[in-house]
């Protein structure tokens, strides 16, 4: 829990993660696990290991004020999970993350809009949910709509009629108006057309110039290189590298290249094996009629 008291005192890092780890149960039998939770609480039975999975473990880093940190890594290595823990919407099983200062909501597609409300109502609702006063929203409403490029006649139609691009644009426009000192961005920059992207870039540049701290998850190297002065490379649920963004990306690309090569080799080996098997089958021809038989049987059973 970040308290305002700490924020006033601190001059050190804005985000501190120490030995962060989160655990998911794989293929869990819910009944047993529910009982366990009641009995052991957060410290679960150490014997029950085996079918649990740590998307992230033992991740430690500090982020200083004004930093823009890019998180890179393959899909499913826990980048978004990490972001969620910084945002405080997921609680770590191990370690601790302390954030000094207010964190803007996790910037994500749709921004928590309610489909049944109009664009205007949603802007007011989500804006005030995130701590803006009505007066502030009044003042900025035109800017938001203008930034989002939502035509005035659509702002009073329910959001469910919006295109996905419109929703994202409106969400981004709203959140870019928040004055929280820490921004977390999860892969939103990928959406939106070129013109909108450019505007987003400008908005982010403005925010960064404003001494704000930002953590960015993205697969877009250009975006990352453009904004970030630091890179965290996450590999297999652990922090592999904590350097400048270029080295992080280089390491990531290098690993990807190696992996692709390995896969190619594997594929080739598979192909060869398949070809060999085919030749064998052609030579013998008998197993094929066998497989047809079973197919017929199955059909009969189904009928």
């Amino acid at each position: 829990m970040a308290s305002t008291y700490e924020a006033a005192v601190t001059s050190g890092p804005v985000i501190e993660a120490k030995g962060l780890g989160v655990k998911f149960a794989v293929n869990r039998r819910r009944k047993r696990s529910l009982r366990e939770m009641f009995i052991h609480g957060s410290k679960r039975d150490p014997n029950a290991e085996g079918n649990e999975f740590w998307p992230l473990r033992d991740v430690s880093f500090d982020i200083a004020k004004g930093d823009c940190v890019g998180i890179v890594g393959k899909n499913g290595t826990g980048k978004s999970t990490l972001l969620k823990m910084i945002a405080g919407v997921l609680l770590p099983d191990e370690g601790k993350v302390s954030v000094h200062g207010k964190v803007a909501p996790l910037l994500e597609l749709r921004a928590g809009f309610n489909d049944n409300l109009t664009g205007r109502e949603n802007v007011y609702l989500v804006g005030s949910l995130h701590g803006m006063s009505e007066k502030e929203i009044d003042e900025r409403f035109d800017d938001i709509v203008d930034f989002a490029e939502v035509k005035p006649k659509f702002i009073d139609t329910p959001v469910r009629h919006y295109s996905s691009g419109m929703k994202v644009r409106l969400g981004f426009a709203l959140i870019s108006q928040l004055e929280h000192p820490i921004m977390l961005v999860d892969e939103v920059l990928a959406v939106g057309d070129k013109a909108f992207k450019r505007k987003c870039y400008e908005a982010i540049d403005r925010m960064l110039a404003n001494e704000r701290t930002m953590v960015l998850v993205s697969h877009n190297e250009k975006d990352l290189r453009r904004f970030c002065n630091r890179g965290l490379y996450i590999k297999g649920g652990a922090l592999a590298l904590d350097t400048d963004i270029d080295s992080a990306l280089a390491a990531y690309n290098e690993d990807t290249r190696v992996e692709i090569e390995e896969r190619k080799k594997k594929d080739e080996a598979k192909k060869k094996r398949a070809e060999a098997a085919e030749k064998k089958v052609e030579a013998e021809e008998k197993p094929e009629t066998g497989s047809e038989d079973t197919g017929g049987k199955d059909g009969g059973q189904a009928a």
């Binding site: 829990m1 989160v22 998911f24 819910r30 696990s33 529910l34 939770m37 009641f38 609480g41 957060s42 969620k84 945002a87 405080g88 919407v89 997921l90 609680l91 099983d93 964190v103 909501p105 996790l106 994500e108 749709r110 921004a111 928590g112 309610n114 049944n116 409300l117 109502e121 609702l125 005030s128 949910l129 995130h130």
Partner: protein, 277 residues
């Protein structure tokens, strides 16, 4: 614990916003809009009025001289209206977290806020049933007493919503991990409707030939006491319609206990719930 309570207090505005949004969404696409909050209970009570009051001429288990103060019909209406609210809480409780998953996974607020908003919405809807209740009170000759207004009414309302919030905290968290809860709750609501003496005075069960332990068990259900109180508001002084000491105690203790259990469970399961949403 204290800091958590403080955090919830700091976010009370969010609860208000969610309540307002829920009401807005609910009545958005209907022509009559907010009028439905009153039309629905009115229609419901009219149905009960015709079935039990006009057709069946029911006066079951009511004391003789209660007839002058609204009789069985007022008794019925005064019980049915809070029950519809309570039943609505029960039916929405399991989904209180799931429906807000989008906000829960992007916004850092104390998670208790979402069940609180669900119960808050129902509270507003309960307040809006009061005009309907008052129509019946005036037309049937119900009386206002200090005892009813200052003792039984606040007690009944506080206990109903404390119990409701406890149940919502409990069910909303458990249902994320165990979706069966939703269906189970539906059946349970039905049982509780008859088990909490909504359609008849609790005295009917207590005065029947059932064995003593059954009666005790019956009175231990906190809802029996709570819903008796809702009616005692209009019938104070009638021995049969006032909760017995046992019912009163179990209502108060039961509500507090439900709230504590609900909150404890909610906090206990919070981590797993966040992972599953």
């Amino acid at each position: 614990m204290a800091s958590r309570t403080l955090a919830v207090w700091e976010h009370r505005k969010v609860v208000g916003l969610l309540v307002r949004r829920d009401l807005k969404v609910k009545y958005q696409q209907s022509v009559l809009g907010y009028a439905w909050t009153m039309l629905e209970p009115l229609a419901l009570t009219l149905v009960y009025y015709f079935v039990f009051g006009v057709v069946l001429q029911a006066n079951r288990g009511m004391p003789e001289d209660a007839g002058a103060y609204g009789g069985y019909v007022l008794f019925l209406v005064a019980g049915i209206l809070p029950w519809t609210t309570f039943g609505a809480i029960l039916s929405e409780a399991p989904r209180a977290m799931i429906t807000h998953s989008k906000l829960i996974t992007t916004m850092k607020v104390p998670r208790e806020i979402f069940p609180m908003a669900t119960v808050g919405t129902k509270f507003i809807e309960y307040v809006l049933t009061w005009p309907v209740l008052l129509i019946f009170v005036f037309s049937l000759g119900g009386r206002f007493t200090w005892e009813g207004m200052l003792l039984w009414l606040p007690l009944a309302v506080v206990l109903t919503f404390m119990f409701g919030l406890g149940v919502t905290l409990f069910l909303s968290a458990v249902n994320v991990l165990l979706r069966d809860v939703e269906r189970l709750t539906r059946i349970l609501t039905r049982i509780l409707f008859y088990g909490s003496a909504i359609l008849f005075p609790a005295a009917m069960v207590l005065g029947s030939g059932a064995p003593g332990w059954v009666k005790t068990l019956y009175e231990i259900n906190p809802l029996v006491g709570i819903f008796q109180m809702h009616r005692t508001v209009w019938f104070p002084g009638f021995e049969e319609l006032t909760p017995s000491p046992l019912a009163l105690t179990s209502a108060v203790v039961g509500s507090i206990l439900m709230f504590v259990i609900g909150y404890w469970t909610f906090r206990r399961l919070e981590m797993s719930v966040l992972k599953e949403l």
